[in-house]
């Protein structure tokens, strides 16, 4: 079963690769057709509703949205749409296989599949992929961003499989507690959603430059992206959804630390970087609420938060030794 889990991981990585290639094909093939279906649809379909968890989910644009495609092609071609559909199907398949990797690993280990760094990265990336599919389902216009989601998934899973892989071992006694389920699962879930939130933030920066007329390399990637304002709302929605869960996860960790190590907060490297990430995302929320801060700066803060989460996930486990040394990586 453990071997089967590793094989499934290879299948998942390949599927993400296929999804990424199809997204790239959709991006490349789009824009050569004469059909202007997009233009014919009412404007509201191009605009997202942000602010999850909004129960309504219907569109309400404060200002008319920038036509996706803008100054260049009027709409996607048929082959581009086909490639896009295949890409989404590949993503769904990849996410399902990814879930299978986790489930088989958990069955083989007879415990929740997040006991060391390899498994933790698997969980976080799965949450990112599943979260992306939820976002895609509710707001189909963000499909072009799937290219970058697939790319991120691919890279992280590749690192996990090649560098972080460890065979299954039971939990060390320090992890043998019900807090293991509560703290690690909420950290993984909120990390996954926060990481997912960095994709629209990056796209927002590229799109904002594109809308200002820049046509050099990174900005042209945003040619077919939704407007910067809607990307900004998507970023905020994902971050605002995950931030309270992340706060709860850190607090749960502190409660566990009090019973395991005797002190709720000891400035262990992982605790310190969790604090840094929390402060940066709090800064993001404050910056977004301050009108005098430019929206581009707000997006950069979200990306900075992403960087601190990566540092917390990889850097702390590999470079620093502390009480959190359950990575299994020597």
């Amino acid at each position: 079963m453990e071997q089967f889990s590793s094989y499934l991981l290879v299948v998942a990585i390949m599927s993400y690769l296929v999804a990424m290639i199809c997204h790239a094909a959709a991006f490349a093939a789009g824009g050569r057709a004469a059909t202007t279906r997009r233009a014919a649809r009412p404007a509201r379909e191009l605009v997202l509703a942000g602010g999850a968890p909004a129960p309504g989910g219907r569109v309400h644009a404060a200002k008319p949205p920038v036509e996706s495609g803008g100054l260049s092609a009027p709409g996607p071609s048929r082959s581009s749409r086909l490639a896009g559909r295949v890409a989404v199907a590949a993503l769904v398949f990849a996410a399902a296989v990814h879930l299978g990797v986790l489930v088989t690993r958990g069955i083989a280990a007879d415990r929740m599949p997040w006991g060391n760094m390899y498994e933790f990265v698997l969980v976080v990336t799965f949450v990112g992929a599943a979260g992306w599919l939820v976002v895609l389902h509710r707001w189909p216009a963000v499909r072009p961003l799937g290219l970058f989601v697939a790319l991120v998934e691919l890279s992280l899973l590749g690192v996990a499989g090649m560098v972080l892989y460890t065979p299954i071992v039971p939990l060390v006694p320090a992890l043998n507690s019900y807090w293991f389920v509560i703290h690690v699962s909420t950290v993984a879930f909120s990390s996954g959603v926060l990481l997912l939130g960095s994709v629209p933030a990056a796209m927002q920066l590229m799109r904002a430059g594109y809308e200002q007329g820049r046509r050099s390399f990174p900005y042209t990637l945003a040619r077919r992206a939704p407007s910067a304002a809607t990307l900004e709302r998507l970023t905020f929605g994902l971050t605002a959804f995950a931030f309270p869960i992340f706060t709860f996860a850190v607090i749960a960790g502190a409660i566990w630390a009090e019973s395991a190590w005797g002190r709720p907060w000891g400035w262990d490297p992982k605790e310190t970087w969790a604090f840094i990430s929390w402060v940066v995302y709090a800064g993001y929320l404050h910056a977004r609420a301050t009108p005098s801060v430019k929206r581009n700066v707000v997006a950069w803060i979200a990306l900075l938060g992403f960087a601190t989460m990566l540092m917390n996930l990889f850097g702390v486990n590999i470079f620093f030794v502390g009480l959190h040394s359950y990575a299994g990586v020597k």
Binding site: A49, G56, T247
Partner: protein, 533 residues
């Protein structure tokens, strides 16, 4: 004659120059409590925490700090002066978070006052031009809809309603601001909890070897390492005594630990002695302190028979060097080989053994690393030394190491080494014998008391609640107004024209749907309205 508008300019009051000092204070305060300053301080806080993770910290691991000093002899003292090894207690980190909290308090208190005022005030009156609002609907032929019915409907849906003459005003979503305020106040409460804990809290660490003669009582002197908060007096430590009766550890074949469990006899003041179990995630909670299991190891029992035939037994805890519990330590016998007639010990005939204990020794030499943490094939490698141990000089040293200076200067000479299995005896060159009797387990424990942790927990709960309310709450207002019929005819025939308007105070994309639903419910039937967005 035309009326001349003869208005003179109102009298200009004499110019008053503002007090520059007061103005500066007021402006500085405004700057400090502004959002931009809060943002800058937040990022400074995040940046200031980075050296606390990159450099070793005294509160986390004092040995790593000492190692850093050894590795960077010129840089380390400079960093130490800057507080780099104690970042989170340093003056600059404290300055940043204290400024941040001052900014927070200065911003939150006026907002609290404004929010209380807003909650107590009635929802504002309807604007004259409802069709200028983001949501607007004209309800023609509203049927039996009446303002009071509309007001009741809104009240049922938990809106705050006020009826003024011809218009109903309703507001909802106060919890958003309330949640925001709760979150920020909870942060302050958290800080108070942290402060309480550091002032009135204490901790003490030590080894506890199994056995009746190795118990300890909770007094300051009995801890190997301790820290008391500034307001804690050593007499405040709760009086209890612990004795380790049993320690169980199970391991996998690979050597990875599977479970730990310690059984102690607890003797608390005012209660009968009782036995208690505790383990890594289940600390022993006593009255006024809690005992946490941090680690464990082995303490070999060594018996030495000196030249006069007197025996001494010592239980020496050895420190674990790796995951397989390869342990090193010293068994010292400073009082042996005393002159049988005068009873005075000879300072140059002291004996000590530097030892390497392997719970599972390999089958063949070299015997340097244990292969498994459990005692499957225990072996103790002893290096005997005789001479002056250097304990009389009063210079503090480690109990796990011999004084290297004495060895280097030849005052303490090595006199042989041997590998002993449990029960074996070794006869030294001067016919004295040393015997390895076996081992006793020891645990490393931490006894702690943190009076602020309850406050921290409660404020953490309020923090998360406030955060969720603040991020999901939506403030919005709706108004319903009876529109007077043209010509001033009162609507007496049962048909009335009502106008409705809605304003979301925050970014709320679902408001259109909610407004439509309200209007439909107010008319009591769908399709009797024409709506524009």
């Amino acid at each position: 004659m035309t009326a001349v508008d003869d208005r003179t300019a109102p009298p200009v009051p004499p110019e008053r120059r503002a007090n520059p000092a007061l103005a500066m204070i007021r402006n500085s305060w405004r700057q400090l409590t502004s959002m931009r300053t809060a943002l800058v301080l937040l990022f400074l806080l995040a940046i200031a925490a980075i050296p606390g993770s990159v450099l070793p910290q005294r509160s986390v691991s004092a040995e790593d700090v000492a190692g850093y000093f050894a590795a960077h002899p010129t840089l380390a003292p400079v960093l130490d002066r800057l507080g780099a090894f104690d970042v989170f207690a340093s003056f600059w980190f404290s300055a940043i978070y204290l400024l941040l909290f001052v900014s927070l308090v200065g911003c939150i208190l006026p907002r609290l006052r404004d929010h209380v005022r807003a909650v107590r005030a009635a929802p504002p009156a309807a604007p004259r031009r409802l069709d200028r609002l983001p949501q607007h609907a004209l309800i023609a032929d509203a049927g039996t809809a009446e303002l009071s019915a509309v007001a009741d409907l809104l009240r049922r849906r938990r809106w705050r309603v006020s009826v003024r003459g011809e218009a109903v005003a309703a507001e909802k979503g106060y919890l958003k601001e309330a949640g925001n305020l709760l979150f920020h106040l909870a942060l302050i409460a958290m800080l108070v909890g942290v402060g309480l804990g550091s002032w009135y809290g204490w901790h003490g660490n030590r080894l506890l070897i199994a056995g009746k003669d190795s118990g300890f009582c909770d007094t300051l002197e009995q801890y190997a390492e301790s820290g008391l908060g500034p307001r804690v007096d050593p007499a405040d430590l709760p009086p209890f005594c612990l004795q380790l009766t049993d320690f169980r550890a199970t391991y996998l074949e690979s050597g990875q630990p599977e479970s730990f469990g310690a059984t102690v006899t607890v003797d608390e003041a005012g209660r009968a002695p009782r036995s208690a179990d505790f383990s890594v995630n289940a600390p022993l909670r006593l009255d006024g302190a809690s005992v946490h299991l941090l680690g464990h190891g082995y303490a070999p029992v060594i018996r030495y028979t000196d030249r006069a035939g007197r025996t001494q037994t010592t239980v020496a805890p050895f420190l674990s060097q790796d995951e397989m519990l390869t342990s090193e330590g010293v068994a010292a016998f400073p009082d042996v080989n005393a002159d049988p007639k005068s009873g005075k010990p000879d300072p140059d005939l002291q004996v000590a053994f530097q030892g390497l204990y392997l719970p599972t020794a390999p089958d063949s030499p070299p015997y340097v690393r244990s292969q498994h943490p459990a005692e499957e094939a225990p072996a103790l490698m002893l290096f005997a030394y005789r001479g002056n141990l250097g304990m009389e000089a009063g210079i503090p040293g480690s109990v796990f190491e011999l004084d290297q200076r004495q060895i280097r200067t030849g005052r303490l000479k090595p006199v042989g080494d041997k590998l002993l299995r449990p029960g074996e005896k070794w006869r030294l060159d001067d016919s004295t014998t040393v015997e390895f009797l076996g081992t006793r387990p020891y645990i490393r424990l931490s006894v702690r008391h943190d009076p602020g942790s309850g406050i921290m927990l409660a404020s953490a709960g309020f923090l998360v609640t406030g955060l969720m309310l603040s991020l999901t709450g939506r403030r919005r207002r709706v108004w319903f107004r009876l529109v007077p019929q043209p010509g001033g005819v009162a609507p007496t025939d049962g048909s009335s024209l009502m106008e409705a308007g809605g304003l979301p105070r925050t970014d709320y994309p679902g408001f259109a749907d909610e407004f439509r639903g309200l209007v439909a419910a107010a008319t009591g039937q769908a399709g009797a309205q024409e709506g524009t967005d």
